[in-house]
């Protein structure tokens, strides 16, 4: 990750911008049905580790004086599923998510549609002239 950031730093002109956009490990996905919160989804330990490593890599380049933070934040977007089977299938194929938070699956009507609200985190950094 640090290598990738160094490569991006080299490719961007001094004063240019590096943007990091990725799923947000600080805000876990939320499951809604008929607009009622039913519970959450959980990330794999690997995904959580990757997020922490990405954060450390960014911090390292800032500490090295190569990047300067401009703005960070997060936002939510929605994914619709026709029923619980559709969500189950997504979870089976997801590399980031390992399953439902405790109690969540049992609170879902298996035949009704679902909305998963997912957060993305971003950081905008200025490429410091070197």
């Amino acid at each position: 990750m640090v290598d990738a950031l160094h490569a991006a730093h080299r490719a961007v002109r001094p004063g240019g911008t590096v943007i990091d956009l990725r799923p947000d490990s600080q805000h876990q996905p939320k499951v809604f049905q008929r607009r009622v919160f039913r519970g959450g989804l959980q990330e794999t330990a690997l995904a959580e580790g990757d997020s922490a490593a990405s954060d450390r890599a960014i911090a390292q380049l800032i500490a090295q004086g190569l990047l300067r933070p401009v703005r960070t934040g997060h936002f939510w977007y929605s994914l619709r599923f026709p029923d619980r089977t559709g969500l189950d299938r997504w979870l089976e194929t997801s590399r980031r998510l390992r399953g439902y938070a405790p109690g969540t699956r049992g609170r879902i009507d298996p035949r009704a549609g679902l909305v998963v609200r997912r957060s993305l985190t971003y950081g905008i950094y200025e490429r410091v002239p070197s």
Binding site: A11, V12, I19, L21, R22, P23, W76, L79, R80
Partner: protein, 109 residues
């Protein structure tokens, strides 16, 4: 709140925002207008095509050859002339001395 319909199973980008809300959240319009952009981890080009609407040129890289093939095909169908796709890892984007105004790690850091 607009929802993203889940339709084309098998294409990972269906699980990502379907519209330009990422760019709106980044308030990236002015930053990207007329800019040279390097997108790192472009996948099938979902975000790339949105970037190409405002950027002067976009070089989009991803190590997944199948995803890049799909992105190139779509770019050809849309007759985009300001986008170049490359099969490359983030650590070695292979852009030589080319310089960009903005680099975006698109779900890839």
């Amino acid at each position: 709140m607009a929802d993203t319909p889940v339709g084309r199973i098998g294409c990972a980008s269906v699980y990502r925002p379907a519209d330009d809300r990422e760019l709106r959240a980044l308030r990236a319009g002015r930053r990207l207008s007329g800019a040279a952009v390097l997108e790192i981890g472009c996948g099938d080009g979902r975000l790339t095509f949105l970037l190409a609407r405002t950027a002067a040129r976009v070089v989009a890289i991803d190590p997944d050859a199948a995803a890049i093939r799909l992105a190139r095909r779509r770019a050809g169908e849309d007759e985009l002339t300001n986008v170049r796709f490359r099969i490359a890892p983030a650590q070695r984007p292979g852009v030589g001395r080319e310089r960009f105004d903005t680099a975006i790690f698109s779900w890839s850091l």
